[in-house]
Structure formats: structure tokens, C-alpha cells
């Protein structure tokens, strides 16, 4: 099943605090920050009994040398975490500073590679705008914001268009019909919350049915269903604001409002709240420097263009997830650093 990144954001950043960011190339370790990126309201999801918590990688808020736009400036300001979020985070994360791992003589070669990358990587995106996809790793001493991701599953209550009636969201007749709706496909959405609840898909939503009563207990709008290109973002369902890092990594510079929901990054037109793009799939896995790596990364999966730079050795192993490469101690499986894949 897919988890929603409910998350939270709002991060209080402090220089020298937790988390990572590796300085690749010349060995200037970045300052590390900690906190959560600001995100939209998550009232429904936040109250769901089904939710859990997931952590995530750090976000670099401001590009070194780049002139920050209004949104960047806003993000660059420390944000006081919501009390609930602070509680979820469980306090500051450990600091990790990675020193230069390059040997003398490699610097010049690295710089050459970067210049060539920039020259060759120009491309036109789907909105006709020019952008660059760069393979090199930037070095800067800017703040790194840490994103806290929270799993969101079903939203308690009734979905848009269905009024709460009796014990559920539907009249008994309709609920019974829903309970029998396409059972063949209903377990294609993997749920981790266990229990004996039944799940049914209907008209873009997955419904969690109360056992025995066939009434709707909670709902989840789905990728390809209610969350499809051309649909208006469901009212009452809040996505998580996507930190700038993800928009930059995935190469989107459109003025959309990018949101996370249940493992997917969507581009939403802020003028009419219409979903314009299914932009990326995200694992939402919990990678934290100083803590064990999440399960499910047994195979070396570093993007091809970074393989010569980040290959497993007896001292370090590398794994990719959601726009970052993580350096991990092969013996302890403790995450040593998160490597940003931007310039």
C-alpha cells in the first residue's frame, strides 16, 4: 500500500544541527539543518487513526549562488514547527558532517565533469521552457532543511459528494452495493493497517468498510482515480506541499502547486485546483542520518550517471531513494550521509 506523506513540515533550522548533506567534490562539508518543511494543512489525515510516521531526506532550500525567488526566500526563513509536528519528530536529529573523500588530483577532474554536464544537459521540458538537468553535486554551505514525512492512509469521514448518514457515508442500500463492488480488484491496493476491515474501490476512491455493517469508515482518493490529471483536487483532502528540492530534482519549473499524496507528487494548477500532472512516484521511506537505513534497499540502485562516483566499497555502500543518494555503513547499516543530486 502506499503511504501518504502527510507530513509535515515546518522546520526549524539551525546551523550545525542534524542531518546531512555531503559535500562532494572538494570536501567543504555543508552546514546541516534540521526541521520540517512547511506544508499544507492536514487536518483530516492528521487525525486519522490509520496514520503512521515516516521520516525523509533533508531539503536544501536555497541554491548556492542562485538568486532566490519569492518562494525560496520564504522557505529560507526558519519556520517554527507546529507543536504537534515537533512531537512527531521526536527532537533534533544527529549531526553528520562528511569530510572530503576525494584524493588530491581528483578535484580538477570533477570540475571538468561539471562543466561538461552543464553544457550538455540543456533540454526543453513539457511546457516548452528551458531547464537544465545536471548530474553534478553542488557544494554550498546553505541551510539544509529536513523534511519530516508522516504516513497518511485513509481519511476518516465521508468523501466529497457523500453525506454522512446513519453509521456511515452511504444509505444501507448503496453501501451494500459498494461492498460487493469489484472485489477482485479491491486488494490491489496494499494496506498495512491490518485488522479485518474490507476495502472497496468505487469511482476513484478506495473505501475502508466497517466489518459486518458494510458502512464506510474512511476513504482514500487514488492515483488514477480521484487523483487524475484533469480532476479537481478533492475537497477535504489535503496534500503535502512539496519542498523545493523535489521540484528541482525532478526538473519541474512550472508554476504549479506541487503536492504529495500517498506516494505521488502531483502538479496542481493553483488557479483552479485542477490536477495537471502526475509528476513523480516517491517511496516516502524513512532515511535519517545516524539511524539504520530502511529495509527494502538490498540491491545497488544508484542512477547510472552517478555510478562511477558512488559505488559500493567495503567502507561505504550507496543507495538511491526519492532524489537522494544515501551513503550507508555496510556493517552497521547506519546512514552516514544524504547526497543531494542538484547543482
Amino acid at each position: 500500500m502506499r503511504n501518504v506523506l502527510l507530513a509535515t513540515a515546518a522546520l526549524a533550522f539551525s546551523v550545525g544541527a542534524p542531518a546531512i548533506a555531503q559535500d562532494h567534490g572538494k570536501g567543504h562539508a555543508n552546514d546541516h539543518g534540521n526541521g520540517n518543511a512547511a506544508h499544507g494543512p492536514e487536518k483530516h489525515a492528521g487525525k486519522s487513526a490509520d496514520e503512521g510516521k515516516r521520516g525523509g531526506p533533508p531539503e536544501r532550500v536555497r541554491e548556492h549562488g542562485a538568486k532566490p525567488g519569492p518562494q525560496d526566500r520564504a522557505r529560507a526563513q526558519p519556520v517554527r514547527a507546529h507543536p504537534q509536528m515537533a512531537e512527531d519528530r521526536g527532537g533534533p536529529q544527529p549531526v553528520a558532517r562528511i569530510q572530503d573523500r576525494l584524493v588530491p588530483g581528483q578535484h580538477k577532474q570533477q570540475e571538468k565533469v561539471r562543466r561538461e554536464d552543464r553544457r550538455d544537459a540543456g533540454a526543453v521540458n513539457d511546457r516548452g521552457r528551458h531547464f537544465e538537468r545536471r548530474a553534478s553535486i553542488v557544494r554550498d554551505n546553505g541551510p539544509i532543511y529536513r523534511i519530516e514525512r508522516v504516513r497518511q492512509r485513509f481519511v476518516d469521514g465521508c468523501p466529497p459528494g457523500l453525506a454522512k448518514k446513519q453509521d456511515g457515508c452511504l444509505p444501507p442500500g448503496q453501501a451494500k452495493k459498494l461492498a460487493s463492488e469489484r472485489p477482485f480488484y479491491s486488494n490491489w491496493w496494499r494496506r498495512l493497517d491490518g485488522g479485518d476491515a474490507n476495502y472497496r474501490y468505487d469511482n476513484g476512491y478506495l473505501y475502508r468498510m466497517r466489518p459486518g455493517t458494510n458502512t464506510v469508515a474512511s476513504y482514500l482518493p487514488l492515483l488514477g482515480g480521484a487523483l487524475s490529471v484533469g480532476n479537481v483536487w478533492p475537497s477535504g483532502f489535503s496534500g503535502t506541499q512539496v519542498p523545493a528540492y523535489y521540484r528541482q530534482y525532478y526538473g519541474y519549473d512550472t508554476p504549479y502547486d506541487y503536492r504529495y499524496a500517498d506516494g505521488v507528487m502531483y502538479g496542481v494548477n493553483p488557479q483552479n485546483n485542477m490536477i495537471e500532472q502526475v509528476a513523480a512516484l516517491l517511496t516516502g521511506d524513512n532515511w535519517n542520518v545516524g539511524q539504520p537505513m530502511p529495509s527494502g534497499y538490498g540491491v545497488y540502485n544508484v542512477p547510472y550517471q552517478y555510478r562511477s562516483q558512488y559505488r559500493d566499497t567495503p567502507q561505504s555502500m550507496y543507495r538511491y531513494s526519492d532524489g537522494y543518494i544515501y551513503q550507508v555503513d555496510p556493517t552497521t547499516r547506519i546512514v552516514q550521509a544524504a547526497i543531494q543530486l542538484l547543482t
Binding site: V113, R190, V302
Partner: protein, 200 residues
């Protein structure tokens, strides 16, 4: 599709960068990475493009498009798709396949696809090496928050989903600019799916 072709242009940069970087690393390190990069270089085409032209993967390509994953598979990624072959879908029955291609099944298609996609760029050699280094079995997370376990049975690479579904990696891998495609012999969905024709 316009979005595809233009996103594919963006991905053209990837193999160029790869060529530039090749050979920069030292000899030490992960054999999987070294073997994977040395043995086969990615195409300059995206996963979306490759899926659309691959032999025997017409159904999964149709379902990926129906699910609205064009930008995802034509974008930066990277992702690795364990793509059920047309023969694998055939086991569900033609009626079920036709149903899955309909507008009403877009969400089902998205669920199916994400259960077959893992994060990052995995070559066959990477999987083989990981199995050897991990006592015969190794796990990867899926974009549907499940787990796939890879192992070897006889000489074959086998993938088993945490729902019990099991398939064999069959045919050749395709390395795209933004990920990899590995054809598999069955759907990695709950086992009831395999009994589609007997249900309902």
C-alpha cells in the same frame, strides 16, 4: 504524445553525462555497479519510450499510459520496472485485459503499475550480485509500499512479492535513460489475480 517526446529530450542528457563520467571512478568497489555500467550502457530513450516499443510488453505499456504515468516514466526518475509480459497478462483472460484498458480502470492500472516499480536503476547484474552477497535473497521496496524479494531458483532469477505472487525474470533487460525494464513472467499482485477467470 507531445509530453512524452519533450520529456524524452530532457532525458537525452543522461547518457551523455554517463559517457562523460564513465571511467572516473577507481577500480575498487561494488562489482554490481562496475559490471552494470561496463557491460551495457543505457539507451538515450526514456522508460516511457522503451516500454512503448518493447516486444511482448504491449499490455503493460497500455496500462501504464491508461494510469496516467506518462510524465513519471518519461521524466527524471530513475525507476526500475518489473514488467509483466503480454503472456503473463494473458493468464488473466482477454476480458479482464480489455477491462483493465478502459477508463474505469485507471486507478486499478496505477495500483498494478506501482506494485511493479522499484526506486532507482537496477541491472540484472546488480540483482545477481546482491543475491550472492546476501545469502541467496535480497529485498527491494516498491512504489506501492510493498516488498519484492529476489532469489535464484536453478539458474533463473525469481522475484516474489510479499503478497505471495511469484514470477521469473525473463528475456533481456532494457536500460533506459531514466531507469530499467525487466520483463517478468507473471503479475506481482495478490494470488487471487491469477485466478481471475474463475472469480466473478
Amino acid at each position: 504524445m507531445p509530453v512524452f517526446s519533450k520529456r524524452a529530450m530532457a532525458a537525452l542528457a543522461v547518457p551523455l553525462m554517463a559517457l562523460t563520467l564513465a571511467g572516473c571512478g577507481s577500480g575498487a568497489g561494488n562489482d554490481a555497479a562496475a559490471n552494470g555500467t561496463a557491460a551495457e550502457r543505457p539507451s538515450d530513450r526514456t522508460l516511457a519510450d522503451q516500454l512503448g516499443s518493447a516486444d511482448g510488453l504491449d499490455t503493460v505499456n497500455d496500462l501504464a499510459r491508461n494510469a496516467g504515468l506518462e510524465d513519471v516514466l518519461g521524466g527524471i526518475g530513475p525507476y526500475t520496472i518489473f514488467a509483466p509480459t503480454d503472456a503473463a497478462f494473458k493468464a488473466m483472460g482477454d476480458d479482464r485485459i480489455s477491462e483493465l484498458k478502459s477508463d474505469a480502470m485507471k486507478a486499478q492500472d496505477a495500483s498494478l503499475m506501482t506494485a511493479h516499480i522499484v526506486p532507482g536503476f537496477l541491472t540484472t547484474q546488480d540483482i545477481e550480485n546482491a543475491i550472492a552477497a546476501n545469502n541467496g535473497a535480497v529485498e527491494m521496496t516498491t512504489m506501492a509500499d510493498g516488498k519484492l524479494t529476489f532469489s535464484k531458483e536453478g539458474g533463473a532469477l525469481v522475484v516474489t512479492a510479499d503478497n505471495g505472487a511469484k514470477a521469473t525474470l525473463t528475456g533481456s533487460q532494457t536500460l533506459a535513460s531514466n531507469g530499467a525494464i525487466h520483463p517478468v513472467s507473471a503479475l506481482l499482485l495478490p494470488t487471487e489475480v491469477a485466478q481471475a477467470k474463475t472469480e466473478q
